[in-house]
Symmetry: C2
DNA sequence: GCGGTTTCGCTACGATTAGTATCGATACCG
DNA sequence: CGGTATCGATACTAATCGTAGCGAAACCGC
C-alpha cells in the first residue's frame, strides 16, 4: 500500500518549477555548454549541490526541463487532419520557446555515449507523445515515430541552422505535407 | 592574378584527410564531448597545436569534417522524382556514416551563442546543397531550405533518439512524402 | 520544548577539457 | 647556406562537471 504519510525529516523545498525556468532561461542566454549547473543554481537561488541531489547529471536535468516544458497534447481523436495540425502547431510553439531547441541539441549531444541518458530521453520525453498519437491518430508505432522524427527533427534543424523558429508559411507546408502523408 | 608560386617556408604537411578521418572515428567512439582535440590529434599522429593552427576551434574543425564528409550531390536535373530520391538516399548514407550524426548534434550545440560558428555552418555546409538543389529541382530558396530541414532534420532526430539510422521502410516513406510534396 | 531524521547551503576538491604561449627542430626555396 | 614558415612538445590558464564533508535548518512525533 502506498503510504501517503509524509516521510520524516526536512521536506524538500518545492523549487522544481523555478529550476526548470532558470534552466531554460540560462540555456537561452548562454547556450547549452556555457549554461553551467552553477549558473542555473545561482539563477534559481539555490545551491548547486541541491540540484545534483535531485537529478543525476546536467543532461538529466535538462531532459526533465524539456519534459516539463512540453506539456500534454490537446487532441480530440475525432478529426485526424485537425489533430495533425494541432499536434504540429503545438510542437512549433514548444520548440520556439526560448532555450528549448538549444536544450534539445545539447541533450542529443550528451546522449551519445551515455545510454542511460538516451533511455531517459526516449522513455520520458518521446514515449508519452508516441502513445497519445498512436491512440488519437490510430497509427502504428513505426508510423508515429516516423511522424515525430519529421516534425520535431524539421523544427530543430531549422533552429540549429538559423537560430530562428520556422516561419508561418513553412509551418503550413509542414502541416499540409503530413496531413496528405497520413490520409 | 592568383600567384601560383609556392610561398616561402616549410610547407604544410597534407594531413587534412587524416585529421577528418580521425575526427569522425573519435567522435563515433567517444561522442562529441569526450572526443577531445588532444585525442583527435593523437589518433592522427600530429600535435594538438597543429590542429589549432588550421582550424580556430573544435566546432570549426568538426564543421570542416562534415563538409568533407558530405560530398557533392549526384543530380541530373532531368527527372525531379529521381533527383529527390537520389538526394534523400545520399543524405541517408551520409548521416548513417559513423560519427556524422554525433558531430552534427555537437556542432549545433556549439553554434548556439557562437554566431561565427553558425555562419560557417550555414555557409560552408548548407549553402552548396541549397544552390545545387535550387538548380536541379527548379525550386525557390525558401522551398529548398524547407526540404533540407525536413530531410536532414528527420534523419538526425532519428539518430539522436535511437542511435540507429533510419530503416529502409521509413526511408521509402520519406522519399514518397517529399516526391508528392514537390510535385 | 526536544530528540530524530532528512534536506539545505556552503566550501573545497579532483578530474577533464578548450584554447594559448613558447621554443627549439625541421622542411623547403633560392 | 641563409631565410622563412611550419611542426612537435611542453607548460599553462580558465572553465566546468560531479563529489565529499559538515554544520545549520525544517519538519515530525512525543
Amino acid at each position: 500500500m502506498a503510504s501517503s504519510t509524509r516521510p520524516p525529516g526536512r521536506p524538500r523545498s518545492s523549487v522544481d518549477a523555478e529550476v526548470f525556468a532558470a534552466t531554460l532561461r540560462t540555456i537561452d542566454e548562454l547556450g547549452y555548454t556555457r549554461a553551467t549547473v552553477d549558473r542555473i543554481a545561482a539563477a534559481t537561488g539555490i545551491a548547486k549541490t541541491t540540484i545534483y541531489r535531485r537529478w543525476p547529471s546536467k543532461g538529466a536535468l535538462v531532459t526533465a526541463t524539456l519534459v516539463d516544458s512540453f506539456g500534454p497534447l490537446p487532441l480530440t481523436g475525432k478529426d485526424r487532419d485537425a489533430d495533425v495540425a494541432a499536434a504540429i502547431r503545438y510542437g512549433v510553439r514548444a520548440v520556439a520557446e526560448p532555450g528549448v531547441a538549444a536544450a534539445f541539441a545539447g541533450v542529443f549531444t550528451d546522449a551519445i555515449g551515455d545510454p542511460a541518458l538516451r533511455e531517459i530521453l526516449a522513455t520520458q520525453l518521446q514515449d508519452p507523445y508516441r502513445k497519445v498519437l498512436m491512440e488519437a491518430l490510430g497509427l502504428s508505432e513505426q508510423r508515429v515515430l516516423f511522424v515525430i522524427d519529421v516534425v520535431i527533427g524539421t523544427l530543430l534543424h531549422r533552429m540549429g541552422m538559423t537560430g530562428e523558429p520556422m516561419v508561418e508559411a513553412d509551418v503550413q507546408d509542414l502541416i499540409r505535407m503530413l496531413q496528405r502523408e497520413l490520409r
